[in-house]
């Protein structure tokens, strides 16, 4: 017994290290945000407030570039709106068409924390359950998709970024119905991979990739990116692409959370 005690006191630092290292590793292997407490991430009240305070200063950086982006996007939407109005007018009564209910609502949120260099990236936004945000909702900005809500507290939410291999988003080519899954390969924050696209799908380099609307998170047609090149797939029956993302993850400032008021039951 005395020998055992002496062994422990002599190797005290080692055992302290061993216990704490094993504890850290246990936390690390269970790091999936859907399963752990919101206190273990940046969306809890304390870290949320710290980031919100810091963002009240740094949020002004890069506004010029974001402004340009918004104006370009506004112009595109204006064009699209005119075109659609023209097309709709030819077919049905425009006013009744515009009154038809759309099941999606957008909640605007500020990004208070964002990372792009880690192996698994997350964002923190300043809207939480009290603003109607729920786990699983899609998040996009004016350029394209950003991610999906993984955890919420009262005033903050943790968003699992597209730049995180834990998130797979159902996506397709704009001119086709065949779906694939978009996942980040960790190499470069400008690109992601679109896997499992059936081989018979016609495509060209530069084709636009959009969300499919097969999940409750995103409606069909949220822009994702454009095909940059074809890459070897794991399976010969499918195609894989490297997709250049539309979203500039290095300067995300404002996003909208897409709330689905009429989710389809699974």
């Amino acid at each position: 017994m005395q020998n055992l005690l002496r062994f422990f006191t002599r190797n005290g630092p080692f055992f302290t290290w061993l216990v704490l290292a094993v504890l850290s590793l246990l936390l690390f292997v269970q790091r999936n945000p859907y399963q752990r407490s919101v206190w273990f991430g940046s969306a809890n009240r304390v870290s949320g407030e710290v980031y919100a305070w810091s963002n009240s200063v740094s949020g002004y950086f890069g506004l010029r570039a974001i402004n340009e982006d918004l104006l370009v996007r506004l112009g595109k939407l204006e064009e699209e709106n005119l075109l659609l109005r023209q097309q709709v007018r030819n077919h049905i009564d425009l006013d009744s068409a515009l009154l038809a209910p759309v099941p999606y609502r957008f909640v605007v949120a500020h990004v208070v924390q964002n990372s792009i260099i880690q192996a698994e990236n997350y964002l923190t936004i300043d809207k939480g359950t009290e603003d109607g945000i729920q786990v699983g909702m899609g998040v996009a900005d004016h350029n394209g998709i950003v991610g999906q809500v993984a955890k919420t507290s009262n005033h903050f939410s943790l968003v699992i970024s597209v730049l995180n291999p834990l998130l797979q988003t159902s996506s397709c080519l704009k001119n086709s119905e065949s779906i694939g899954s978009l996942v980040w390969d960790g190499a470069n924050p400008l690109y992601a991979r679109l896997n499992n696209v059936p081989r018979n799908v016609p495509f060209e380099i530069g084709d636009t990739v959009i969300t499919t609307g097969f999940s409750n998170a995103f409606p069909r047609g949220v822009p994702v990116g454009r095909i940059y090149e074809e890459v070897p797939a794991a399976d010969n029956n499918f195609l894989s692409f490297r997709v250049e993302l539309f979203t500039h993850f290095d300067r995300i400032n404002n996003v909208h959370v897409i709330t689905n008021t009429n989710p389809c039951p699974f």
């Binding site: 630092p13 302290t16 690390f28 991430g41 810091s54 880690q118």
Partner: protein, 166 residues
């Protein structure tokens, strides 16, 4: 009182790391300012306390960076290794109390000690991180970039504050 001052500097290191340095990356690596705590902690503090403190600092960083367990593991390991590393370059009798400084260790020994602490820390941090995603070239680049940037930055701090700590 000196304990409170040390605590204050530790908090400053963590806050700067979270709000500033985590956003300035070069080739995937960042300046790891908080490792300075593992370099400068007085040697007479019980090693168990040092390791526990490392764990707590890592855990706080993890919560803010959404990497739960990652920094905690790396900091715990660094804190455990720091004294054996120090005694590789300096005799234990020569430094019984106080913090290892550039002045006390001499330029060469301090450089060696700092570099070895950084290598242990970055290997623990980035090898564990690589478990979720593996790309050897990106990993090596990240490790080298982080070590180089942190080394230069911490030496600069050490030079700038040399007179105070003598």
């Amino acid at each position: 009182m000196s304990f409170l001052i040390s605590l204050f500097w530790i908090v400053i290191c963590i806050v700067l790391q979270i709000l500033v340095f985590n956003h300035l990356s070069l080739a995937g690596g960042v300046v790891l300012l908080y490792v300075y705590v593992a370099v400068k902690m007085p040697v007479e503090i019980s090693r168990q306390i040092q390791i526990l403190l490392g764990f707590l600092i890592g855990l706080i960083l993890d919560i803010f960076c959404n990497t739960i367990g990652l920094h905690a593991f790396a900091m715990t390991t660094t804190m455990w290794m720091r004294l054996p590393l120090l005694h590789m370059f300096v005799l234990a009798e020569d430094i019984k109390t106080g913090a290892p400084t550039l002045h006390r260790l001499g330029i060469q020994n301090f450089y060696r000690f700092l570099l070895s602490v950084l290598i242990v820390h970055c290997l623990a941090l980035y090898l564990l991180e690589a478990f979720s995603l593996f790309s050897l070239s990106a990993l090596l680049l990240k490790i080298i970039s982080s070590i180089a940037m942190t080394f230069v930055f911490l030496i600069a701090i050490e030079m700038a504050t040399r007179r105070k700590s003598v």
